[in-house]
Symmetry: C2
Subunit: 111 residues, 2 copies
Amino acid sequence: MARTNPPFMTGVPELLLLRLLANEEMYGYELVRRIQLVTGEAIKLGEGVIYPSLYSLEKAGALKARRKKVGARERIYYSLTRQGKKRLSALEADWQRIRDAINLAGDTSAA
Amino acid sequence: MARTNPPFMTGVPELLLLRLLANEEMYGYELVRRIQLVTGEAIKLGEGVIYPSLYSLEKAGALKARRKKVGARERIYYSLTRQGKKRLSALEADWQRIRDAINLAGDTSAA
DNA sequence: CCATTTACTTTTAACCACGAGGTATACGGT
DNA sequence: ACCGTATACCTCGTGGTTAAAAGTAAATGG
């Protein structure tokens, strides 16, 4: 039944993609596995999330793509544009704001 | 233009409401202001978010409501049911899982 | 007596994460 | 040669959730 907007996941795929691609170019399938890795299995984003996100970020000018043959296989590698870096900064700021606010609220009510 | 699903806000209204109401009963309008207070103005949830959330949480059995006359005014006070407490625990666990995973991913990529 | 604050309510809209399904090629084992 | 598994990419439908805005009405205060 789709289990659509699970708690606290809005914006997370975009944040993780931008972060990972800020360091090195990667391709879709790789990102799917890498995200599981770097989050200690806590977050798993399927291809149905990753690919559409990549397209829309590319379309928005945050990512650029290039095709690259590796052995016999062809992969589409993505990396950040300058715009993508700005977008990442803004998202990180959003994330910190929300995270800190929720922490704050928790401390207050725990007191 | 609505800007409907802003980054990182899914689940946040529910979490904050349940947290606040776990301590003491409150009414809608009060919650609107209280949330701004305890988040240091970082999160502002309008009435269009708060009231529908309250209804749906009540309908789901997480909250119970009682009408109370204060002076000449009548207010609807909400408080947690046992189910609501369970729901809060589950949500807190979700929140921690996501938050920690994002932190983890950030440290890794920053390294 | 009028403007502001308090309090509650409803409507409308759009985004976006997700699962599931689909294609095609390469590779390893037997 | 054959078959299952892993790699790699892609698409569709869904619906839950936040959010702004506008509306009602009573009380308060100057």
